[in-house]
Amino acid sequence: MTHDFKASMERVAACLAGEIPDRVPFIALADEPIGARVAGVHIQELFAMGAKKMAEATLQTYEVMGLDMNICNLVTFPFMGSAYESHAIAKVSGKPGLFVWKDYATPYIKEGKIAETEKDILNMGTPDHLKDDMWKKQLDAMAIVKEKTGITQNLIMSLTWSQVLTLRGAQAYIDTIQNPDLLLKLCEKIYASQWDYYQAFCKVLGKPTYVINAQYSFNRECLSFESAWKFEGAFIARFCKETGLPLVHHNCGYDPYWDELMDKMTEVGVVNAAISESHPLDLDYWVRFQKKYPTIVITGGSLFVHGELELGTAEDVEERVRQNIVKLASKGRYMTCPICCMPWRIPLSNYLAARDATIKYGKYPIKDTGQVPGSRIFPTTLGYKKEKAKL
C-alpha cells in the first residue's frame, strides 16, 4: 500500500481538534457504489467473500480515491446503517426475507414491513451484533482495517428516524400525532438495538472518540422541531450523555434545523463536534454558521453529488472545491467532502478532481487564487426555493 494512512489520520485529528493541519483533509462517505467500482465486485459478493475481502476493498478505495478518511469505515457499511440494522432486527423478530440485495448499489429493506403492527413493535427483538452474520463481518472487517492501518474506526449510529422509517414506513408520520406512545416504544426498541451495536463496537474496536449520527427528522420538510426532538433528538442526546461522546451530526434533508439543534444539544449538555456533509448547499450560510459556532467542524459545504460532481467537468468540480476551501477552511475545522455518499453516475475523474483540488488549494495558509479558468458555477438551489438562513 502506498497511501500514507498515518499522515491522513494526523491531518483529520488535527482538524477535529481545532488545530491547523498541513492541508485541508479530503474525506468521503465511501460506501457500496464506490467500493464496487474500485474492487470490481458488487457488495453481495464482498459479503460472501468475508471480512478480509471487505477490508481489502475498503483499503483499495482509500488508495484509489486518496481519502484521508472514509466516514463509513468500510465500503460495505451504508452510512445510514439502516438496511443491515433493520435486517438484524427483522431476523430476531421473526421477519426475515425482507432484505433486497442490489448489484453495485446499497441493499435495502422493504420499508414499513417489520414494525407494521403494534404487535410487531411490542414483540421486536434486539439483535446480538456480535453474533449476527452481517454485523460480525462488518466488525471483523473494521478490525482488520484498523490493524493494518491504525485508522480509528468511526461509531456510526442511526438513532432513530432513519430506522423508524425503514421499520414503520411513512405511517410513522401519522404515529407522531395518533400513536405517539407506540412510536416511542419503537424508538426505545431501536435504542436498545443501537446500544447493543455500541457495546459490540467497543468490544471489538475499543471505545470511539465521538459518535456520528445519521439524522433524518431534523428538517423543515420532515417534522416540526418539537416532534423531531421527541422522536429522534432526545434519543441521541441520551446516548451521548450515557457514553460521554461528542456528537457529529449528519442530515440528508435539504432544510435542516441546524441552529435550533445546535442550541438544544448544548442546552442538554451534548458537545456538538461537527456537522458532516449535509445541506444546505449555500456557502454563505456555512460562513455565517462558522462565525456563530466557531468550535464546530464542518465537512462538506456545497460540493453536492447531483451538482457539478455528476453533471460538470473536472474544472467545475475544482472551482467548487476551491470556493469551499477559500470561504470555509482558512481557520481550520473544515474538510472537503462530497454531499452525501459517492453514488453511481459520477465519473471517477470528478471524484478525483475533488481530491486533487483539495490538495492544490488546501495547503495552509489558504490563498484565494480566483476562479478556475473554463469553469462554470452551478446553482446550489436544486430548482427549489432558496433556503432562508436563520442565522
Partner: protein, 199 residues
C-alpha cells in the same frame, strides 16, 4: 419521453390514480410505470400484457443521493429498452419531489417533468397539521405543478371549499383539481394535464 411524477403521502391515492391514468392513456401512449415496489401497484399480468404496460421497480438507497441516481438510471434503461411516450413515477412517500424534477431534467433523461401531488381531502386536517406529516406534505405541495385534492366524494361540499382554500394558499401557482377516482370527478382534467394540454 415525458415523466409524470405522482407524489403524495401514504394512502392519498397515488397508485389508484396511476392505474386510472394508465387505463385512459394506454390506447394512445406507450406507458411505463416506476414504483417503489411492484407488489404494491396491484397490476395483474392480464392487464399488463393487454395494455403493453411496462412496470419497473425502483431500488432503495439514501433519499438525498442514491435514490435519485437509481431513478435516473432506471429511466435511461426504460428509454433504451421500451421507448415509452410517458413514464409515471411513484416515488417513495417521503421523496423530495423538487429534487426529482430538477435532476431528471438536468441529467438529460427527459425535457419535461410534470409533478402532481395528491392530498387526501378526507384526512386534510391530519395531513396539513403543524405536527405529524404536515411539514412533509406541505413541502411536497409547495414544489409541484398540480395539486390533486383526492377523495373529495368523502367530504361535504362546505368543508371541501375550506380545504381547497387552505391547499391553494400553500402553492397559489399550482393548478388545483378536486378529484374522485370513485366518481370520476376531475380525472379528465388530470388526463389532459398529463397529455400536456392547457387548462
Amino acid at each position: 419521453m415525458k415523466v409524470i411524477q405522482i407524489a403524495g403521502f401514504l394512502g392519498s391515492g397515488k397508485t389508484t390514480t396511476i392505474l386510472e391514468l394508465v387505463r385512459r392513456l394506454s390506447d394512445r401512449w406507450r406507458i411505463a410505470v416506476v414504483v417503489n415496489e411492484i407488489g404494491e401497484i396491484g397490476i395483474d399480468g392480464v392487464f399488463l400484457s393487454a395494455s403493453g404496460l411496462k412496470v419497473k421497480e425502483l431500488t432503495g438507497g439514501c433519499i438525498c443521493c442514491q435514490l435519485l441516481n437509481n431513478l435516473v438510471s432506471t429511466l435511461m434503461a426504460l428509454k433504451m429498452d421500451f421507448g415509452p411516450d410517458a413514464v409515471f413515477v411513484e416515488p417513495t412517500g417521503i421523496a423530495k419531489t423538487e429534487g426529482v424534477s430538477h435532476q431528471l431534467i438536468a441529467s438529460g433523461v427527459t425535457e419535461e417533468v410534470l409533478t402532481i401531488v395528491l392530498v387526501d381531502a378526507s384526512r386534510s386536517g391530519l395531513l396539513l397539521a403543524e405536527h405529524g406529516p404536515g411539514h412533509l406534505v406541505r413541502r411536497q405541495m409547495s414544489c409541484c405543478d398540480v395539486i390533486m385534492v383526492s377523495k373529495v366524494d368523502l367530504v361535504p361540499p362546505d368543508q371541501l371549499s375550506f380545504i381547497i382554500r387552505d391547499v391553494s394558499a400553500i402553492n397559489p401557482s399550482a393548478t388545483l383539481i378536486p378529484t374522485s377516482c370513485k366518481t370520476g370527478l376531475g380525472l379528465s382534467e388530470i388526463e389532459a394535464l398529463a397529455m400536456g394540454k392547457q387548462q
